[in-house]
């Protein structure tokens, strides 16, 4: 497939399962998306929707023992990431694609000075000398806004607060100025005030370095402030995708409506309760044949459990998979609270 020049990464029909004692769990079931140069794409979904698995599979960081690649491709730099050898992958991880993880308290090696943890990839991928790498580590710590960087490089992770550690993790990720940064719930484990700082930092660095970002999150508030486009995942599939504006103001799929209705709005009437989505996601070791949201969908029709709907396109960027858009389906308006965000 010819690669669109605007795209830095093209994921097509990605399918990943895990072998467990209970049988095969289908975590990702045919996910396709493009990542444009310099954009931030948010992948949103609840726990178990397959968003983290999608991200980790691009880095090939899923546990080898029980991960089953069922199919699909992820074209980056003209090569399919899923087919690279481990050796080739080691040259991609770090300098080309880097990752920031969810919990900064556990993502740093407690026995190694943070400076050395940053230097490691500089020395390996950029061939820097020990002294040069140390110098660069100090610069990187300054870049991510850690005061007193000259002293801090010599310290161990436990001497840093959670927010500061996440800054260190970001410094490690950006050390080799990667083309793609995958941020897997980078603010979930942080205090709200720190969350905003880290998001600002990510955005600022993205502009400076020109990286494309895949932001994995379940927090729509985070998405609204930093993302260009959103992919909503449910039960291993992308159910709606569009620009932030389109997805927030003109959502086309009941699951997205549910997500939006459950965000607390500062402007909303306090007497209005948040509306949770009833039920729980399907068991992925035996996923439903049709639309996986059927069981929790207030608008479910007879066709919904039988077959997964085709994507309906609403604009150049906006598409959703829902039977409600079939010509024969009744006309359904999104609930008032979602409409209120319009």
């Amino acid at each position: 497939m010819a690669m669109n020049n605007d795209n830095i990464l093209e994921v097509r029909d990605l399918r990943i399962s895990f072998g467990t004692y209970a049988g095969e769990v289908q975590a990702v079931r045919g996910v396709s998306f493009d990542l444009r140069r310099r954009e931030t794409l948010a992948i949103v979904g609840e726990s178990g929707s397959g968003k983290s698995v999608t991200a980790k599979s691009l880095m090939r960081l899923l546990p080898e023992a029980n991960t089953i690649f069922k199919g699909g491709e992820a074209i980056f730099d003209g090569r399919d990431l899923l087919k690279l050898s481990e050796k080739q992958m080691q040259r991609v991880r770090g300098p080309k694609i880097a990752m920031v993880f969810q919990d900064p308290m556990t993502s740093l090696d407690p026995t190694m000075k943070v400076g050395n943890q940053i230097s490691e990839s500089l020395r390996k991928h950029l061939g820097m000398s020990r002294a040069k790498a140390r110098e660069r580590s100090v610069e990187l710590l300054k870049l991510v806004g850690i005061p007193n960087a000259e002293e801090r490089v010599k310290q161990y992770p436990h001497q840093f607060s959670g927010g500061m550690r996440q800054r260190v993790v970001i410094a490690i990720a950006l050390a080799c100025e990667p083309q793609i940064l995958i941020a897997d719930e980078p603010t979930t484990a942080l205090d709200v005030t720190i969350q905003a700082q880290i998001l600002d930092l990510l955005r600022e660095l993205q502009e400076k370095i020109g990286t494309s970002v895949i932001l994995i999150t379940h927090d729509l508030g985070v998405v609204a402030s930093v993302a260009d486009r959103i992919a909503v995942m449910y039960a291993g599939k992308i159910v709606e995708m569009g620009t932030v504006r389109e997805t927030f103001y003109d959502p086309q799929m009941p699951y997205t409506w549910g997500l939006l209705a459950s965000i607390p709005l500062p402007t909303a009437d306090r007497s209005q309760d948040l509306i949770p989505i009833p039920g729980s996601p399907p068991d992925m070791s035996d996923p439903p044949k049709g639309c996986p949201f059927t069981a929790r969908c207030p608008y479910a029709m007879r066709v919904c459990p039988t077959e997964f709907p085709e994507y309906t396109t609403f604009s150049a960027e906006h598409k959703a998979a829902c039977w409600l858009h079939h010509p024969m389906a009744p006309n359904v308006e999104p609930p008032a609270r979602v409409g209120g965000t319009r």
């Binding site: 308290m105 556990t106 993502s107 740093l108 490690i172």
Partner: protein
């Protein structure tokens, strides 16, 4: 830290006092006397009793002994031509220590290799094999293992002498017999720790940096997995002490353990007590060092694992 060490020292002295007292009365309660030789006439025996103060009431003997010990005097052997107990222990010490230290080295090296292989090949035949070896190593007692080694490596293959201690080659079998427990302990420990560490987020991050598998293992996994190894050093010291009693006997090694067993057989009270004191001090020191190590390592682990 200083207060901690002071308090610990006090407890150690208390523990020693209890150990010595209990051993004193138990050894006196042993049947027989140090002067059971048939050739001794009752009169000579009586004189010997008087000479060594054994005719006095037991509490008086106890008081005298404790006062001597408090001054660092372990007394003279009853059986071996009245030589000082401390001298006899020190004389035997190098041999026992050599075999013990060599056993620890064997154990650490072989145990680590086994543990690392098991962890890296988790849930494969290698892993199972290593676990089986480890379980056998802990469960087969040295008095069974010793003779097997003597028969197999000594008699059948003729690689090593099976008894006595004349040169280094003589130390191999006893050290090996002692080290099997160390191997098992270290292997199981390293395996568990490595599996635990390999599941940590910081290992995923190290991989995400593009480090090679070997670099991740050497620089991140092993380093974190080895630190808690200090926690098994005290139990290993205990084992080396108790193990030496049996192993030195089997291989006729002239070490402290062998001497200790002999002294019990012949009711050499001062020797029994002296060796017990020596072993206890060794053991208590091992525990103290371990606890100090904990103190050094623990705050960092506690802080780094804490949530904001």
């Amino acid at each position: 830290m200083l207060r901690y060490v002071a308090r610990r020292t006090l407890y150690m002295l208390l523990a020693l006092f209890v150990i010595i007292s209990v051993t004193f009365f138990i050894s006196k309660a042993l049947p027989g006397t140090p002067f059971a030789d048939d050739k001794l006439t009752p009169q000579i025996r009586k004189q010997l009793y008087e000479k060594y103060g054994l005719d006095e009431p037991i509490l008086v003997q106890y008081e005298k002994y404790m006062l001597n010990v408090a001054q660092g005097d372990l007394g003279n052997s009853f059986y071996f031509e009245s030589r000082p107990v401390s001298q006899m222990i020190l004389q035997r010490l190098p041999v026992s220590m050599f075999i013990g230290v060599q056993a620890v080295i064997f154990g650490l090296v072989i145990g680590m290799v086994l543990g690392i292989v098991a962890a890296l090949r988790h849930n494969t035949l290698w892993d199972t094999l290593a676990v089986v070896v480890a379980v056998l190593g802990v469960s087969v007692p040295s008095f069974v293992l010793g003779p097997i080694l003597q028969y197999w490596l000594g008699l059948k293959l003729g690689w090593f002498p099976i008894a006595f201690f004349e040169s280094w080659i003589y130390s191999v079998l006893p050290s090996l017999a002692l080290s099997v427990f160390v191997i098992s302990t270290v292997a199981r420990f390293i395996r568990t720790e490595m599996l635990e560490v390999m599941g940590q987020d910081y290992i995923t991050l190290a991989k995400a940096k593009g480090l090679s598998g070997l670099a991740v293992i050497l620089k991140h996994v092993l380093r974190n997995a080895l630190i808690p190894l200090v926690t098994v050093m005290a139990p290993l010291t205990i084992y080396l002490i108790t193990g030496s009693l049996v192993v030195e006997q089997i291989f006729a090694v002239p070490g402290i353990g062998e001497q200790f067993v002999q002294s019990i057989v012949v009711n050499d009270y001062s020797m029994i007590l002296g060796t017990t004191i020596f072993f206890s001090v060794l053991f208590i020191l091992a525990l103290l060092i371990q606890d100090i190590m904990y103190g050094i390592i623990d705050p960092r682990i506690r802080i780094s694992g804490a949530k904001e």
